[in-house]
Symmetry: C2
Subunit: 418 residues, 2 copies
């Protein structure tokens, strides 16, 4: 009878806790095989420093509440383990901790880097002859993991962006006659344009906003951008732009860095949103507004996609099922079985094929002019924002859960500095 | 038998169309007294240029859909009529249009300035011996109209801000150990801190975010702000700040203008959010993130307050009822009849008492240190975000209505330049 260790890694999402919920609820159904699930406090750092939360102390209601609570309930970490050669001590420390706490299952919930870590932990366990099952659980709003059709967390961020774009566009359209003509929404996705593309779902017929999407995959061309803004304003009275934070100029420099300096000469105060908005004013005198969604887009559980919540739960559940079937060094993936009607199932991929790979937006998902999404892109994206899954409310606010977070008693006397 | 004219004015909200819905649905029940409702295309400009939409051409379903559609369905305008002495021609033009189209009722849906305009139109009608009933309908996310307990539009913006603050705070709390320690959400409210105060609803017990609110009513004190950020980070591991766009430094200058210059030396690219976030990094090296909600906060119909939607509908309905009872130069107001349980009714106020007055956040709604809201403020705000009122969805997106917008045939041959 072994315990399990679970940790959240990297930027959190609106549904990463739904994966934790799926994992813990499923583990609780197999108490004959998995005694307890320990969660790392602040991700893998919790393992390295022997700072773990005993999830068996949490009530069924609290665990159920994770399904609708955004953020990382156990704390996440931006902390990448170095290569085994460079820092073998870290890996050995993990194994020591797992041994000390009878941990036979390692579940790591994260993106590219995390799958790399999970893979390495698996290797070192084999090398040290420690029986340890390592399962990755996909999570990232960036939607950039290979093999899996999509990544839990993305659908909800995409829905937030699509809904917000549609709503703000109605606002701008109302105001354009005498006031704001250009509205810019800046979204995340430093390397891949999946989230920017999601803004494209807001419009369903010709002329609908957004009129321009700026993808990180397409080099920014100021003249072409400005020409497109002008033609939108002249044709529709206004122009809505969705811009990815990762857009770069022809020199490969982030636009966000190009523009702004504060009073002390420090760069990059503003984001790319204000930079491109300002351009349109300089060129044509258009009044503009801009919004930067930042963390709001990845924590907006109030407007989560039902499909995304279900998939996030399912990969957590599948991780336990894989482990109990003795699968090792694998990650559950989402398989699209049918596009219309949308049907999906859970598949399996080796960690090694996921780690350190990045799935960018394919060129045929972007229109020829590079400013919009194609029908193929829409067909891919649309099901991922499908359905609503509202959290419960009290006094006008979502009643997100807070865990008790009872610590596991330490068994090692050796401190470890991270 | 007279027709009615309705126009939307100033910045739109998530629920201004709910007022239009209440007005049009109620007018349709009194076809014996109000023949048709004409809506100004882009507000009062639609009247001046004889550019009106015949709402009788819209289906009952389309009008019903206005209840859950954000933005201004007929178009709004930032266009303040000059004083009668300065521009009598404009007022006379309005009367000419109203006469030409048998308009006996003037409904103006807006804020302070609009109530001033409605009042003046009423005066000039009396002066010109034209029978015209003028009714104002309150609307503003700024919540700064006097007499009325609150302003339709505010409750939904407040709910958006409170929910977003709560959600983003969970995200930051997860990340703080290794990454972001300070998160700043910039909200609207250039002169009054009502929207900033709404962020305070996100926290319900000691230590909950937001840890700092920066109100436009309180002069910004950099040293005190930084000390508070530091103590929050040390105590809770992170710090969430809600900042009003209207915060000013001791010289009375907007902070948003103080910081940023672009590569060409132009001021004010970024907002106040990045300015205060950057300060914390300069002082303590904290990693920060910031979001600027901008139009998202006033168009977020997907997370509208049910109370707000009901009140917006009710003031539209009451406007017609007042008109039919022969009331003139008045505005329906929200009267708080009971705090707990929250009960409200519709009252009446003369336009002259609303026009050009601004209700700021009272000092006793802000904590002694000026960084938070008091129990009195919470008791006032909390009911206004009460209840959810979700729009219908299809394909993962809210199905907001688009009106046909059939134009009223022009009767005057004289053009009018605005």
């Amino acid at each position: 009878m072994k315990n399990a260790f679970y940790a959240q890694s990297g930027g959190v999402t609106a549904v990463i806790n739904a994966s934790a919920c799926g994992l813990i609820e499923t583990a609780r159904k197999h108490r004959d095989k998995i005694a307890k699930v320990y969660a790392g406090r602040h991700g893998i750092i919790g393992a390295l420093t022997e700072d773990m939360i005993d999830t068996s102390k949490e009530s069924p209601a609290a665990i159920r509440g994770l399904r609708y609570t955004p953020g990382g309930a156990f704390g996440s970490a931006r902390y990448k383990l170095a290569g085994i050669d460079k820092n073998r001590a870290q890996y050995e420390r993990l194994i020591d901790i797992f041994r000390a706490h009878d941990i036979g299952y390692f579940f790591y919930n994260g993106g590219n880097d995390s799958m790399d870590t999970a893979q390495k932990v698996s290797e070192i366990a084999v090398h040290m002859a420690v029986p340890l099952i390592c399962i990755g659980i996909p999570k990232t709003v960036d939607n950039d993991l290979p093999i899996t059709d999509c990544c839990p967390g993305f659908g909800s961020a995409a829905k937030y962006i699509a809904v917000s774009t549609r709503e703000a566009a109605l606002d701008v359209a109302s105001m354009a006659r005498t006031s704001t003509k250009v509205f810019v929404l800046e979204v995340m996705g430093r390397h891949a344009g999946w989230m920017a593309a999601a803004g494209g779902l807001a419009g369903e017929k010709a002329g609908d906003a957004p009129h321009i999407i700026l993808f990180p995959e397409i080099v920014f061309d100021r003249a072409r951008f400005l020409a497109k803004v002008k033609s939108s304003v002249e044709k529709y009275g206004y122009c809505v732009v969705v811009v990815s934070e990762g857009v770069r100029d022809p020199d490969g420099k982030f636009l966000a860095e190009a523009g702004t300096k504060d009073a002390f000469g420090h760069a990059q105060l503003g984001g790319v949103g204000p930079v491109v908005a300002q351009m349109t004013q300089e060129a044509f005198g258009y009044k503009f507004h801009w919004a930067v969604a930042d963390y709001l887009q990845r924590s907006a559980r109030h407007i989560a996609s039902k499909v995304d919540v279900e998939q996030a739960y399912a990969v957590g559940k599948a991780a336990v099922e894989f482990a109990l079937r003795g699968r090792n060094a694998v990650m559950p993936v989402i398989v699209r079985k049918s596009a219309k009607p949308y049907r999906w199932s859970i598949g399996e991929a080796p960690l090694g094929k996921i780690a350190n790979k990045e799935k960018k937006l394919p060129r045929n998902f972007m229109t020829a002019d590079g400013f919009g999404i194609t029908a193929a892109c829409r067909a891919y994206l649309s099901p991922l924002i499908g359905g609503e899954d509202y959290p419960p409310y009290a006094r006008g606010l979502p009643t997100y859960v807070t865990l008790k977070g009872v610590s596991v008693v330490k068994r090692l006397r050796t401190p470890f500095v991270v």
